[in-house]
C-alpha cells in the first residue's frame, strides 16, 4: 500500500518528471559520450580514411601476401594491420569496408524507416481494417527468416550493395512501423490533436503537424539501436556470400576471405571482426542510453 505515484501529484507537475530525468540523465551521459566518441572515430575514418590510404582492388602484390601486422612491405611502407592473401594492405581495405558498412547501414535505415514510419503511421492513425491488414503483414514479415529472403533476392537479382540494402530494409521496417504505430495511437486521441480538429484541420495536417513530430524522437532512438543490428547483418550476409560482391571489400567479405588462413594469418579475419564488434557494441550502448533517457517505454523493443 505504499503507492508513491499517486501522492507525488502534490509537487508541481513540472518538478516531478524532472526528478526522474535528472537521475537518468546523470547515469546515461557517460554512456552517451562514449558511444558518440567511438562512432565519430569510425565515421571520420570511413569518410576521410580512403582518401589518405588509397585502396586499389586490382592491385595485387604476391610478394607482400600474408604479412603480419606492423611489417614493412616491399615498397617501404608499413602495414599496421598486416596484409591479406593477395598482398592487399588490410588497413586500407578496412577503411574502405567501413565506408560500405556505414553507408549500407544508413541507407537501410532511411529506407526501412521511411517504409516503417509510413506504414506504422497509417495503421495507427486510421486504425480499423487498415491497421489489421498492415500489422498482419508485419507479423508475417517477422516470421519470415531474413536469410532466406536474402538468398532469394541474391539468387534473383545477384549480389550487390543495393540488393543488400533492399534485403535489410525489408527485414527491418517492422520495428519502425511498430514504434510509429504506437506513437500514432497515443497521439491521435490526445486533446491537442482534438483541438486542431475542432479548428478544422484535415487529416494530412493532423498527421504532419501533430502525429509525425511525436514520432521523431522514438524513431531516432530506435534507429540508433537498429543500425548496429543492420551493420552486423550486412557483414553476416556478405560473409555468407549473399551480400556485397567479393570485389567490394566490406568487412564481411574481408572476414570471409581470411577464413581459410585462420591458422597462418589470424589477423585477416580477426582485426575486421574486432572492429565490427566494437562498432556494434558502441552503437548498442549509445542506443540504449538514448532510449533510457528519451523514451524508456521502448525498452521492450
Amino acid at each position: 500500500m505504499t503507492d508513491v505515484t499517486s501522492t507525488e501529484l502534490d509537487l508541481t507537475t513540472a518538478t516531478a518528471p524532472l526528478v526522474k530525468s535528472k537521475r537518468r540523465g546523470r547515469a546515461g551521459s557517460a554512456r552517451i559520450r562514449f558511444g558518440f566518441v567511438v562512432i565519430t572515430v569510425y565515421v571520420v575514418a570511413a569518410i576521410f580514411g580512403p582518401w589518405l590510404v588509397r585502396y586499389n582492388p586490382v592491385d595485387t602484390r604476391t610478394a607482400d601476401r600474408l604479412r603480419p601486422p606492423f611489417s614493412r612491405l616491399s615498397d617501404g611502407s608499413y602495414a599496421i594491420f598486416g596484409t591479406d592473401q593477395v598482398g592487399q594492405d588490410l588497413f586500407a581495405q578496412m577503411l574502405q569496408g567501413a565506408r560500405i558498412s556505414i553507408a549500407v547501414g544508413l541507407a537501410t535505415l532511411v529506407l526501412a524507416g521511411t517504409i516503417g514510419v509510413t506504414i506504422g503511421l497509417s495503421a495507427g492513425y486510421f486504425g480499423g481494417w487498415l491497421d489489421g491488414v498492415l500489422m498482419r503483414l508485419a507479423d508475417i514479415q517477422l516470421a519470415f527468416p531474413s536469410i532466406l529472403l536474402a538468398i532469394f533476392i541474391a539468387a534473383l537479382l545477384g549480389p550487390s550493395v543495393v540488393n543488400v540494402v533492399i534485403v535489410l530494409a525489408v527485414s527491418n521496417w517492422v520495428t519502425f512501423a511498430r514504434v510509429a504505430r504506437g506513437q500514432a495511437l497515443a497521439t491521435r486521441r490526445r486533446e491537442f490533436v482534438d483541438a486542431s480538429r475542432t479548428l478544422g484541420a484535415g487529416t494530412w495536417r493532423l498527421i504532419s503537424r501533430s502525429v509525425l513530430p511525436a514520432c521523431v524522437a522514438p524513431v531516432l532512438v530506435v534507429a540508433t539501436v537498429e543500425i548496429g543490428h543492420v551493420i552486423l547483418a550486412e557483414a553476416s550476409l556478405s560473409f555468407l556470400g549473399l551480400g556485397t560482391p567479393a570485389s567490394t571489400p566490406s568487412w564481411g567479405v574481408t572476414i570471409a576471405n581470411g577464413r581459410n588462413y585462420l591458422a597462418d594469418a589470424w589477423w585477416i579475419s580477426t582485426i575486421p571482426g574486432i572492429a565490427l564488434a566494437f562498432l556494434v557494441v558502441s552503437l548498442g550502448v549509445l542506443g540504449d542510453a538514448l532510449r533510457d533517457r528519451y523514451d524508456p517505454r521502448l525498452r521492450s523493443l
Binding site: 500500500m1 503507492d3 501529484l9 508541481t12 524532472l18 526528478v19 535528472k22 540523465g25
Partner: protein, 329 residues
C-alpha cells in the same frame, strides 16, 4: 488537549534538474487524539509531501527529510526503528487513487484479510471473517459475494471503501486520508465523507484530511491547517479560519470559491500564479500576490503567531493580519 502527533519544523527537499526544491519548508502542526484536522492547500503547497513524511514514503532517492521532527505518542517517527510497527498499524493512510493502491491480481477479501494474517497472525478462515465484517462496516453492499471479486470489478467509490476497510483493519489511532474523494463523483464523495466522519466518531480515532477543496472538509473538520508553498500560513478552528481569515491567502481562497446559493457576483480571485518552488519569492512567499504586502514582507518571513482576536489557537503567518481581518466582509 494532548497531541497524538506533533510535526515540528518539518523540512522536505527534492532534487530536481532545476535544483533543490523545498517542498515542505518548516511546517509545524499537531493533531490531538480524536480530532479531525483538515490539511488544506493547493497543488505545490506541500500538503501531500507532509503526509508522505509522516508515513515514511517520501520518494527516494530524489526526496529527503532535511530537518524537523515528527513525533507520534511521544515517539520519534523519523528515527529508523522507532517507527517500526506504528505505521500501518497505529497510523494508516488512504490514498486518492484507490485503483493503483490495490493489488490488481489478488481478490479484495484476501487483500483486506492479509492485514489480519500478517499483523495479527490470524488464520485464513478468521481473516476472511474479519474482512467480511470490515466490508460490511464500510458499507459495501452484498459484501459476502464481493469478497472474492478483484479490484477492477469495483466502482471508484466502492474501491475507496475497500481502501478505507484496509486502513481500518488494525484499528488505527490516526488515519490520514490524502484527497480521498478527489477522483470521485460528487454524490459518491458525499457518501465517502459521511462514512469517514461516522467511522471517526465510532473509533474515536484522529483523522487528518488532506484536500484542496475548502468545502469538502467544512462539515467534518474541527481544525484547519492551511499550507502555501511548503509552509503553514494559517491554522485554527475551522469556523474561525473560514469566517475571520487572518491570512490574505485564506481570505483570497474564500473569495475564489463560487458558492452554490450566492448571488452571481464577480469572484475576487487571488492575483498572479502559484509560486514556482524552484525560485520562491524572498520573505513571505505570498507577497507577490498580496494586497497588503509592504517592504517588510519582501524581506522577512513571517512566523505563525496568534491573531489579535481570540481564540489563541487561531494563528496566521502574516505581518499584517489586522488589515486582513478588518477588510474581510
Amino acid at each position: 488537549m494532548t497531541a497524538l502527533m506533533r510535526v515540528r519544523e518539518l523540512r522536505v527537499e527534492f532534487d530536481t534538474s532545476g535544483g533543490v526544491v523545498t517542498a515542505v519548508d518548516g511546517a509545524s502542526f499537531e493533531v490531538a487524539a480524536g480530532e479531525t484536522v483538515a490539511l488544506l492547500g493547493e497543488s505545490g503547497s506541500g500538503k501531500s509531501v507532509t503526509a508522505q513524511a509522516v508515513m515514511g514514503i517520501v520518494p527516494k532517492p530524489a526526496g529527503r527529510i532535511a530537518g524537523g521532527s515528527i513525533t507520534y505518542d511521544g515517539r520519534d517517527l523519523l528515527t529508523p526503528g522507532a517507527a517500526k510497527g506504528l505505521r500501518g498499524r497505529e497510523i494508516a493512510m488512504v490514498f486518492q487513487d484507490p485503483l493503483s493502491s490495490l493489488n490488481p491480481v489478488f481478490r479484495v477479501g484476501a487483500q483486506i484479510g492479509e492485514m489480519f494474517r500478517r499483523h495479527r497472525g490470524a488464520s485464513r478462515r478468521e481473516a476472511r471473517a474479519a474482512a467480511l465484517e470490515l466490508m460490511k462496516r464500510v458499507g459495501i453492499p452484498a459484501a459476502s459475494k464481493r469478497l472474492d471479486d478483484y479490484p477492477h470489478q469495483f466502482s471508484g467509490g466502492m474501491r475507496q471503501r475497500v481502501m478505507i476497510a484496509m486502513a481500518l483493519a488494525l484499528s488505527p489511532r490516526l488515519l490520514i486520508a490524502d484527497e480521498p474523494t478527489t477522483a470521485l463523483d460528487v454524490t459518491v464523495q458525499a457518501q465517502i465523507m459521511d462514512l469517514l466522519a461516522r467511522l471517526q466518531a465510532e473509533e474515536g480515532m484522529s483523522l487528518v484530511l488532506i484536500t484542496h477543496d475548502l468545502g469538502v472538509v467544512a462539515d467534518v473538520a474541527d481544525r484547519v491547517v492551511l499550507m502555501y508553498a511548503g509552509r503553514v500560513v494559517e491554522t485554527g478552528p475551522i469556523r474561525e479560519v473560514y469566517e475571520h481569515s487572518g491570512h490574505p491567502y485564506t481570505a483570497g481562497l474564500m473569495g475564489s470559491v463560487p458558492v452554490l446559493d450566492g448571488a452571481r457576483d464577480r469572484l475576487t480571485p487571488i492575483q498572479g500564479s502559484p509560486p514556482d518552488l524552484l525560485s520562491l519569492p524572498t520573505g513571505c512567499s505570498f507577497h507577490p500576490r498580496c494586497h497588503y504586502a509592504d517592504p517588510l514582507c519582501t524581506t522577512d518571513q513571517p512566523n505563525l503567531r496568534p491573531l489579535p482576536t481570540p481564540p489563541p489557537q487561531h494563528q496566521a503567518a502574516c505581518h499584517h493580519p489586522e488589515g486582513v481581518l478588518n477588510h474581510a466582509p
